[in-house]
Subunit: 261 residues, 2 copies
Amino acid sequence: MTAPGRIYIVGLGPGARETLTMQAQQAIQAAEVVIGYGIYFVGLEDLVADRETIALPLTQEAERARLSVERAATGQTVCVISSGDAGVYGMASLVFEMAGELPDERRPELVVVPGISAVNACASLLGAPLSHDFAVISLSDLLTPWPTIERRLTAAAEADFVIALYNPRSQRRDWQLPRALTIITAHRSAETPVGIVRSAYRPEQQVRVTTLSQLDPAEVDMFSTVIIGNTQTRFVGPWIVTPRGYPAVGVGQQERASPPR
Amino acid sequence: MTAPGRIYIVGLGPGARETLTMQAQQAIQAAEVVIGYGIYFVGLEDLVADRETIALPLTQEAERARLSVERAATGQTVCVISSGDAGVYGMASLVFEMAGELPDERRPELVVVPGISAVNACASLLGAPLSHDFAVISLSDLLTPWPTIERRLTAAAEADFVIALYNPRSQRRDWQLPRALTIITAHRSAETPVGIVRSAYRPEQQVRVTTLSQLDPAEVDMFSTVIIGNTQTRFVGPWIVTPRGYPAVGVGQQERASPPR
């Protein structure tokens, strides 16, 4: 029996070649076969040259995961590529779940190579909105009941998290973002800074800065990530900046605090 | 009057050179002066050769930000380096706030270069714990009142977020982690998978996988990040995997859903 191979699950970062890490490049070059969604290969041509490449449509994540496990089971070194970080709403969990169905001796070695996630990429183009606690929430209710998403929006808004919305809106999912904004608006001022970044670090990149009350959902699409500030977030020139702390607490003061009862 | 220069605020990723992006390398090489905490320069020697470097102790973040703005105001190209992502509890907000105090014509150009954040780096070493909505919470109460942190822990636990704890414990801050675990345990099963990663992607890296009830706070220090699964997170072999969805919802099913009333 052939010894099982290895699967690298690689995050490419937001898109352009310059946000790829050295580690991600090495993983792609170590692979015999590279599996991904077609557009992910754009810009990687030199890295995947002389390797088998398998491009499958956007909806076929499960098929990509299945193929990677199947190939690695024959002893191959496989690389599954994902945009952003493969561990954040990405391919990683699918590959782990499918590999987990195999008996130990047939299970390939799994290596996740982290990438710059959309939340970090978008934040970098807006200023410094993530300098305090934040919650990442997907508005896609394809695999998650909407009441669960709504409960998270409410919790994050009430507890003053900076909120990053993934999958905020698509042609078929158009009511979720307005509903999310209504929930958040109940706990934040109308002037709360909001950033919308579309296709970060790609040629078609668009960055828009607005406020919670001025945000028009129609300007948001499936290539966008939305970041909503906490109660301390403010504009500094054209930038969105969340201070690292709250004004009531001085440096050093809490070092002397006792545990709460 | 000299035209103001530029400040690159660069995230180096978790530590080792191979998690640096090309963009981060280019920013360092474009700078005349590179400012950071001493240990951040280890491994970057060739990139900073022939450049002025200023290393300031860990506690002097404000001083590093002030220096960068001061230097850029004289027309220099400055690079401020941070581990992980400079926008997540990092140097970015300090630099923006200080630059914001200058009149427009004297304000340097600010460019944030995103990096692999600790939460993504640690998740990659644990399997796929971040495949669903997650909350990032710092347990440091140096700049944030503890009741605010506690409110976030409660909200994130109740709303079934995967929870990543930054700054979970230090020699002087030793009661916050046990307190956080008590709060989370009220909403999660004792068997909830928990991962502790210390010094990800550095030679001294340690990865430990345990459960909420078995986690011993004494094993966690200031170089660690703790990731706690949601109610769906499970072990797949030695890995922590959060499924991408909830079992009750089938693919496609929600595409036909109507907006909630």
